[in-house]
Symmetry: C2
Subunit: 469 residues, 2 copies
C-alpha cells in the first residue's frame, strides 16, 4: 500500500496530524448556539486558510442570513469550497464535510475539557474530534501527502449540526458551475459499526420539533400560585407522553404506515452483518435493548423511524431545587425519517396530532408546534462502481471485506446532493464505532485517524481506475 503514496512526505504529515486537530477542536464552533457564531466564522476561516496553504483554489461562499426566533437575522457561516487539479481527462471527486459541532460543556459529564484535545491511550478526546473535524483533516492530509490521480474539490460547511441551513440553496445555485464537472461525491461524516471497516449506503433523515406551551406571563412561585393555575409544564408533559409507547411504538397516526416494507433480501443482508449484541449492550451500559435479536435491532436503528425526546427549555434544569411554575416551556423531540416518509407530511401529522391531544386537555394555555429541521433520508445502490472501489480500497488497507451498513443518524446534505446534482454519492466512514458522537467524551482514535487517511489515499487510487464514461 505504501507504494501508493510518498512514504517520506506521509510521515512528515503524520507528525502534524495531532497538532492541527488540536487547533481545530479548540475552536468552539457550536452552530446551535448563536452566541458562538464568531467562533464558527473563525472556524470557516481556518479551514479556508488550510486549504489555501496547500495550493487549493479556495472560495468562501456567502449563503445569506439565519433568521432567529426573535425575528432578527445573523449571517450564516460561509461555505468553503476548494479545488485541487482541473485535468479534464481525470475524474473529479467532491469531498463534503463540516466543521461545526454539537454543544458540549465539561459539566455535562466530560472527563476532560471538551474543547481541549486530550490524548489518552491513543484516543483523542474532544468535541468534534470524530464528528467531523478529524475526517475533514484526514481528507486534507490526503491532498497534502499524495500526488492526486483525480481532481479533488472540497465543500466544507458550518451548519450541519443544526440542519445545514442555507446549504441546499447554495448547491442549487452552483449546480451548473461548481458541481458541473464533479463525477462523484464522497461523505465521511459517519462511523463503522464494529471494528470492521464499513461502507455506508443509507442514512435516516430527521424531523426536529419544538412544542411550546405558554401560560402565565412570567414564572410563578409554586407555593404562592400552585393550585390556582393550569401549569404549562403539566400540559407539556401530558402531550409529550402521547408520542411513543413504553415499548417504543410511535403513537402519532400515519407515521408507521408510511414506512417502506422490509423485504426478504434486506432481511438476509442484515443477517450477514457483523454485529455483537452483547458487546453493544455492554458498551451502552443498558440492561436490555429495545429488541433482542440482531436483525430487528439493526432494522430499528437504520430503516425504521423513532421518536426521541431531547429535553425541555424554560423549565428548571439545574442541580438543586427550585419551587417554580415555569411560564413557558418548550419540549424538544425529533423523529428519524426513513424511506418512504416525507418530512412535509410528518410535520402535518405531528402538528395535527399534538393539537388534537392538547385540545382534549381543555387547557387555557396555548400550544405552538414548529418543525425546525426537516431532513430526508438517503439510500444508495451498493452495486455502483463507487462502492466497488470502496470495497477494494478497504481490502488493500485493512485486508478485510467491509460491512455494508446504514446509518441511524442524519447527514441532511446526502439527500440534497442526490436530488439536486444527481451525482453518485458514497459514504466512506473512518470514525470508530465507539466515538461517542454528540455525547460526552467524543473521541477519534489515532489509529482510525491515520489508517483512515491511508484509506482515503487508497480510495482515490481506486476511483482513478473507474472507466470514464
Amino acid at each position: 500500500m505504501f507504494t501508493l503514496f510518498r512514504r517520506f512526505r506521509f510521515v512528515v504529515v503524520l507528525t502534524c496530524f495531532y497538532q492541527t486537530l488540536r487547533e481545530w477542536v479548540a475552536v468552539e464552533s457550536d452552530s446551535s448556539d448563536v452566541s458562538k457564531r464568531p467562533e464558527l466564522h473563525h472556524m470557516m476561516n481556518l479551514t479556508a486558510d488550510k486549504l489555501r496553504s496547500l495550493g487549493g483554489k479556495v472560495e468562501m461562499v456567502d449563503i445569506g442570513l439565519q433568521e432567529l426566533p426573535d425575528g432578527k437575522s445573523i449571517p450564516l457561516p460561509k461555505v468553503v469550497t476548494a479545488q485541487f487539479g482541473e485535468d479534464p481527462s481525470k475524474h473529479t471527486v467532491c469531498i463534503y464535510g463540516h466543521v461545526d459541532v454539537q454543544p458540549a460543556k465539561k459539566e455535562d459529564g466530560w472527563a476532560t475539557e471538551p474543547y481541549n484535545l486530550t490524548d489518552i491511550n491513543g484516543n483523542l478526546y474532544g468535541r468534534g474530534a470524530s464528528d467531523n473535524k478529524a475526517p475533514v483533516l484526514a481528507w486534507i492530509h490526503t491532498v497534502e501527502a499524495y500526488k492526486l490521480p483525480v481532481n479533488v474539490k472540497f465543500l466544507i460547511e458550518g451548519m450541519e449540526e443544526t440542519g445545514s441551513n442555507g446549504l441546499e440553496a447554495m448547491i442549487i445555485a452552483q449546480r451548473d458551475t461548481f458541481f458541473l464537472d464533479v463525477d462523484y461525491i464522497i461523505i465521511s461524516d459517519c462511523g463503522w459499526l464494529s471494528r470492521r471497516p464499513a461502507l455506508t449506503y443509507g442514512t435516516r433523515g430527521n424531523c426536529y420539533f419544538f412544542a411550546e406551551v405558554e401560560g402565565p406571563k412570567q414564572d410563578l412561585h409554586s407555593g404562592v400560585y400552585g393550585g390556582t393555575v393550569i401549569e404549562p409544564m403539566t400540559d407539556l408533559i401530558g402531550i409529550l407522553d402521547t408520542l411513543i409507547s413504553p415499548s417504543g411504538k410511535i403513537l402519532i397516526p400515519g407515521i408507521r404506515e408510511a414506512v417502506a416494507p422490509f423485504s426478504d433480501e434486506e432481511w438476509k443482508m442484515y443477517q450477514d452483518i457483523e454485529f455483537d449484541m452483547e458487546n453493544y449492550k455492554e458498551k451502552l451500559g443498558v440492561k436490555d435493548l429495545m429488541y433482542n435479536n440482531k436483525v430487528d435491532l439493526l432494522a430499528h436503528r437504520w430503516r425504521y423511524p423513532t421518536v426521541s425526546i431531547h429535553g425541555i427549555e424554560g423549565a428548571f434544569s439545574a442541580s438543586g431545587s427550585k419551587t417554580v411554575i415555569p411560564a413557558k416551556v418548550t419540549g424538544k423531540f425529533s423523529i428519524r425519517q426513513v424511506p418512504n416518509m416525507d418530512p412535509a407530511t410528518v410535520k402535518k401529522q405531528v402538528t395535527e396530532y399534538l393539537h388534537s391531544v392538547f385540545a382534549k386537555r381543555k387547557s387555557p394555555n396555548s400550544l405552538k408546534v414548529t418543525m425546525i429541521i426537516g431532513a430526508k433520508p438517503w439510500l444508495a445502490d451498493t452495486q455502483h462502481s463507487l462502492y466497488e472501489a470502496g470495497k477494494e480500497a478497504i481490502k488493500k488497507v485493512f485486508q478485510v471485506e467491509p460491512d455494508l451498513i446504514r446509518e441511524g443518524g442524519t447527514i441532511p446534505v446526502a439527500r440534497t446532493f442526490q436530488d439536486v446534482t444527481e451525482k453518485s454519492i458514497i459514504m466512506l466512514p473512518i470514525g470508530g464505532f465507539d466515538d461517542g458522537l454528540h455525547s460526552q467524551n467524543e473521541k477519534m482514535s489515532r489509529y482510525n485517524y491515520i489508517e483512515g487517511t491511508k484509506l482515503f489515499i487508497a480510495y482515490l487510487h481506486e476511483v482513478a481506475q473507474i472507466k470514464k464514461v
Copy 2:
C-alpha cells in the same frame, strides 16, 4: 403614629434603606447552588455585622454540615442570633427571617440584572428584595429607629429556600437557652393578598421530590442509537404524566383523602376576603384559572395540596436543538402540604406509586425516588392576642382592617417553632401581592419597605401592651 418613634432618627434611617438593601441584594446568596456557598457565608457575616453595629449581642451559631448527593459534605451557613434588651419586666419577641435567595439569572427573563438592585418607578427590583432581605432589614431598621418597648431577639438563617437544613436541630438544641425567655415569634416572610394589608395565620408545607431515571452509561446520539434503547426521558415523561390530571386532580392514591374537611365556618371566612379574581387573572396573564369562583380558588391556593412539576435535570435545556438521548434524567416536582397531611406518609405514597407506575412500563432503566424536602404546614389561632395586636397596628398605620389570610407557600420553620418551642407565632407580612417571589423581576416597593418598617414599630408598641401572664 409618628409620635411612636423618634421622627428625626427615622428620617435618617430612611436615607440608607435603599443603600443597605442594594448591598444585600448584590450578594448572590443562592442556597440551592453549592458553588455559591462562599457568597452565602459572606451574607451571614454581613447580617451579623449589621446587628452588631446596632449594639446587639450577636452570635453566629454553627449548625454543622450539609451532605451533598455525591457523598461529600460542606459547611452550612451559620445561623445569626442577636439580642437587644434583657429587661425581664418586658415581653421578649423573636424575629425570624432569612437572607438566602432562590436562583436567578438575567437570561431567565429578567428586565434588569437580578443581583443589581434597580429602582424603577418606586419599585426596587432584585432577587431576594422581597423574599426576604427587605423585610429582615425593615426589622433591623425598626431596632435602629425606635426605643424598644420590648426585648427583641433575631434569628436569621441562610438555608430557607432549600428547606432550612440544620435549623430544626439548632432550635431543639437552644430551646431551653435562646428560646427560654422568648414569648412570641414573629415571621415576616410572606406577602399581602391585595393592596389591603394582611395578617397570615397559615402556610402550606412542601414535599419536594427527585425522580431519577437512569439508562445508558452516557448520553447517546439520537440518530445513531435511537430505536435501539428504551430512553430514560420517555420513561420519566411517562411517570411524571401520572401525577396530576389535566384539570389539576392529584392522581397519587391517598393524598386527597388525607386533607382536613372544609368547614362551613371556613367557607364563610373565605367569602369575606377581599380578592379580585379578574385582577388576579390579569396579573398572571392567563386566559382561565383553575377555578372560577373566589372561595374554590383561594381554598386551592391555601388549604388543598397541589402538584407542580418544576423541571428536568440532565436533559437538553438550552435554546436551539441537540439530537441527544440523555442517559440520566431527574424530574423535579413538589406537593404542597396542608392539614392533615404528613410528609412521611406522602413520601411513602409517592415513592410506592411512582415505582408501581414505572414497573408497568417494564423498562430496563432504573428509577430512584428521593424526597429532598419534607416541610409540614402551619396553622395559627386568629383570636390570639398576637393577632389582635396585629389588627390594631395595621389600623393605626394604614387606617384599615387587615385581611386574615393563609399562604400557599411554605415557611418550614413556622411549624418547627410551633412544635419545638411551643411559643405563639404570628406572620406579619409587608411584601406586596405582586412582588414576584421566586420568579423573574422580583421586587419590593419603596412604599411597602418604608410603611412596613412603620408597621413593625407600631406592632412592637401594641405587643408591649399585651398583659404579661
